[in-house]
C-alpha cells in the first residue's frame, strides 16, 4: 500500500437505470470524492440528489435495484469495483465495507433475537472465542448497557436508538475499513442523535475505521466530519475540508448554509433555495443548479455540468463563477 492510494476514490461516477426501448435514465453523473484511511466524510444534499445511490455503488447493491454504474471509476484501495464479480463482492461487502442502512426501525430482522442477529453477522467472519462472548463484545463496543438482557430481546422491545446501535454493531462485526452510515439518525430524537454521533466518533478513533456519513443535516455533518461532500442533482458540486467549508464557494452550498436554522436569528430572515431540485430525467444542459441560482449567467446554461475546479484533496467547487462569488 503506497501512501497515495486512497481507501476509496470516486471519479466522475455515473449511475443509471437501463430501460427497455427508452434511453437510460441517469440518476448520478458527476459524483467525485475520495476517502482516506480513518477519515470521516460527510455527504449532504437534498432528497433525490443521489447520495444513497452512490453508497449502493460502493457496496455493490445497485444491480438489485436495476441500476448500474455506467461511467467513471469507483476505486477501493486501488481496486476498480466496476470490474469485480459477485464472488469478489462477497469478500468485500459487509466485511471490508460495512453498511448501516437508513431505517433504524426497520433495520434488524424482527423475528431474530439480538443474539441471533449478531451471531449471523459474526458467522461470516473468522474469530476466536465463543459466539456469545464475541456478540457481547460487539454490544459493549456500541455502548449498550444490560447486555445480557438485550441479547435475549427482539428488536420490537428496543428503542430506535438501541436498534440503530445493534445495526452498527452488526456492521462492525468484521472490523471493516470503511463504514457507510446512510442517514443513521433520521427519525431519532436529538438526544439519541448526539449519542449515535458520539459513538461513530469513538469507533473512528478507537478502531481507525473510515466513515462515510450521509445526511441532509449540514449542521450535523459540520460537527463530526473531517471532510464534506455536497451533492445536487446527481453531481458533486462542492467538496472540501470541514473548516474550509465554513466559507462555501458553490451557490448551492451557500444557499444550503443560509437555510440553516441553527444560525438563523429567531423569526429573522431565513433564505430558502428557489424552486425544487430538477427531476431525474429532466436535467437541463449546463449547470443543473442554474435554474435555482442567483449568480447564473448565460454560459451556465450550455454545455456539460461544470467540473470541479481546483486541486484534488483541497477545497473544490463545480461552479463557473466561483471567483465572482468570493468577491460578493
Amino acid at each position: 500500500m503506497t501512501s497515495d492510494v486512497k481507501l476509496l476514490d470516486l471519479s466522475n461516477v455515473a449511475i443509471g437505470i437501463e430501460r427497455r426501448k427508452r434511453e437510460t435514465l441517469v440518476l448520478v453523473r458527476e459524483a467525485n470524492f475520495d476517502v482516506n484511511y480513518g477519515e470521516m466524510v460527510g455527504i449532504v444534499g437534498e432528497s433525490g440528489s443521489g447520495k444513497t445511490m452512490v453508497c449502493r455503488a460502493i457496496i455493490g447493491t445497485l444491480e438489485r435495484r436495476g441500476a448500474s454504474v455506467i461511467g467513471g471509476e469507483v476505486l477501493f484501495e486501488g481496486l476498480d469495483l466496476r470490474t469485480i464479480n459477485e464472488a469478489k463482492w462477497k469478500t468485500l461487502r459487509g466485511k471490508v465495507i460495512g453498511y448501516v442502512p437508513q431505517s433504524a426501525l426497520a433495520g434488524p430482522n424482527p423475528v431474530l433475537t439480538i443474539e441471533k442477529q449478531l451471531a449471523e453477522a459474526l458467522s461470516q467472519v473468522e474469530g476466536t472465542g465463543s459466539m456469545k462472548n464475541r456478540s457481547k463484545e460487539l454490544l459493549d463496543l456500541v455502548k449498550i448497557r444490560r447486555v445480557d438482557t438485550v441479547m435475549k430481546q427482539y428488536p420490537y422491545q428496543l428503542s430506535g436508538g438501541m436498534r440503530q446501535r445493534v445495526m452498527i454493531a452488526c456492521a462492525l462485526a468484521s472490523k471493516p475499513k470503511l463504514l457507510i452510515a446512510d442517514e443513521p439518525t433520521t427519525g431519532l430524537d436529538v438526544t439519541v442523535q448526539s449519542q449515535i454521533m458520539e459513538l461513530l466518533r469513538e469507533i473512528r478513533r478507537d478502531l481507525g475505521t473510515a466513515i462515510i456519513l450521509i445526511s441532509h443535516d449540514l449542521a450535523l455533518v459540520d460537527e463530526v466530519c473531517d471532510k464534506i461532500v455536497v451533492m445536487h442533482a446527481g453531481a458533486t458540486v462542492e467538496i472540501g475540508p470541514t473548516a474550509s467549508m465554513a466559507k462555501p464557494r458553490h451557490p448551492y452550498t451557500i444557499a444550503l448554509n443560509s437555510s440553516r436554522i441553527d444560525v438563523a436569528k429567531p423569526g429573522g430572515e431565513l433564505l430558502t433555495i428557489k424552486g425544487n431540485p430538477p427531476s431525474v430525467g429532466q436535467w437541463n444542459p449546463g449547470c443543473r443548479f442554474a435554474e435555482r441560482c442567483d449568480y447564473k449567467e448565460q454560459d451556465c446554461l450550455v454545455g456539460d455540468h461544470p467540473a470541479l475546479s481546483g486541486k484534488k484533496g483541497e477545497h473544490q467547487s463545480a461552479c463557473l463563477h466561483t471567483d465572482k462569488i468570493g468577491k460578493i
Partner: protein, 267 residues
C-alpha cells in the same frame, strides 16, 4: 396580554391509555394557555406525550382528566368535542405528509374538498379559493394538479397546511411538521409559518427539533414523561435553562446552537 386575547386554555389535562394489562399515563396534569396570534412550542423526546397533548387540543382525543376550554367553552362534553361551532377554528397539521394526504386526490381536490366542507360554497368557488390557498403556500397551479406521490415531501406538507387553512382557523396545531422533510424545504415551510403568524394565526408547534422551536416560537414548554418540566419565554429557556433535562436537550443540538449549551454543561 389582556384576558380577552386568550383563545385556548388547557387545565390540568391528563391522558391515560389502558391496554388491559398495563396503564400508561401519557400526559400528566399539563396546563397551558394559547393567546391569539401567539406562537408557542412544545418540545420533548419521543414518548414524552407531546403528540398526545396536541391531539387532545385538536379535539381528536378525550382527556381522562382536566379541562380544555376554547373561547371559554368547554371543548369536551360527554364523548363529543367542540360543540359550539368552534370546531373549524382549531386545525391540525400532521407529522407525516405521506400519510395524511389522500393518495387518490391531487392537491387541488384535497384542498377544495376541505373548502367545500368548511365554507359550504359551490365547486367552482371552492376550487378558486383552494388555488388561492395553495398559491399562498407556494404551490402553483401546475403542482396543485399533481397527485401526492408526484410531489416532494416539502410540497406535500405545504398542501397539508393549505388544507388546514381552508377552515380559516385561529389556532394551527402542527405536530412535527418539519421532521420528515429536507433542510431547504423546512426553511420554506417555516417562512410560510412566519407569514401566517403575521396574519394573526396562533401556532402550536410540537417538535423535538429545538432549532425550529427557537426560530418560530415565543413561549416554550419542555415536556418529559408527560409532564412540563420547564416553561417560559423561548429566548430565556434557550439562554438560561434551569432544568437539567432542558440543558441536556439543548446540548444535543448539532451545530452552532448546541455549542454554547455544551460549553455551559462542561463548566
Amino acid at each position: 396580554m389582556s384576558k380577552r386575547d386568550i383563545l385556548m386554555e388547557v387545565e390540568n389535562v391528563s391522558v391515560t391509555f389502558d391496554s388491559g394489562s398495563s396503564v400508561v399515563e401519557a400526559v400528566k396534569k399539563c396546563s397551558l394557555t394559547v393567546h391569539a396570534g401567539e406562537p408557542i412550542g412544545i418540545v420533548g423526546e419521543s414518548g414524552s406525550g407531546k403528540s398526545t397533548l396536541a391531539r387532545v387540543m385538536a379535539g381528536l382525543q378525550t382527556p381522562s382528566a382536566g379541562e380544555i376550554r376554547f373561547r371559554g367553552d368547554n371543548v369536551f362534553k360527554g364523548n363529543k368535542s367542540f360543540q359550539s361551532g368552534n370546531r373549524n377554528e382549531v386545525q391540525m397539521v400532521f407529522q407525516d405528509p405521506y400519510g395524511s394526504l389522500n393518495p387518490q386526490l391531487n392537491g387541488l381536490s384535497a384542498v377544495a374538498e376541505a373548502v367545500r366542507i368548511h365554507t359550504k360554497v359551490g365547486k367552482d368557488e371552492a376550487e378558486h379559493k383552494a388555488l388561492e390557498l395553495l398559491d399562498r403556500m407556494g404551490i402553483g397551479k401546475l403542482d396543485a394538479l399533481k397527485q401526492p406521490r408526484q410531489l416532494s415531501g416539502g410540497q406535500r406538507q405545504r398542501v397539508s397546511v393549505a388544507r388546514a387553512l381552508s377552515a380559516n382557523p385561529t389556532v394551527l396545531l402542527a405536530d412535527e411538521p418539519t421532521s420528515a422533510i429536507d433542510q431547504s424545504a423546512q426553511a420554506q415551510l417555516l417562512k410560510l409559518f412566519l407569514g401566517l403568524l403575521n396574519d394573526g394565526l396562533a401556532i402550536v408547534l410540537v417538535s423535538h427539533d429545538l432549532g425550529v422551536i427557537r426560530y418560530l416560537t415565543k413561549r416554550v414548554y419542555v415536556m418529559k414523561d408527560g409532564v412540563f418540566v420547564e416553561s417560559g419565554d423561548t429566548e430565556t429557556v434557550f439562554n438560561d435553562p434551569q432544568e437539567e433535562y432542558t440543558k441536556m436537550l439543548l446540548a444535543s443540538i448539532p451545530g452552532e446552537l448546541g455549542k454554547a449549551a455544551r460549553a455551559k454543561l462542561k463548566r
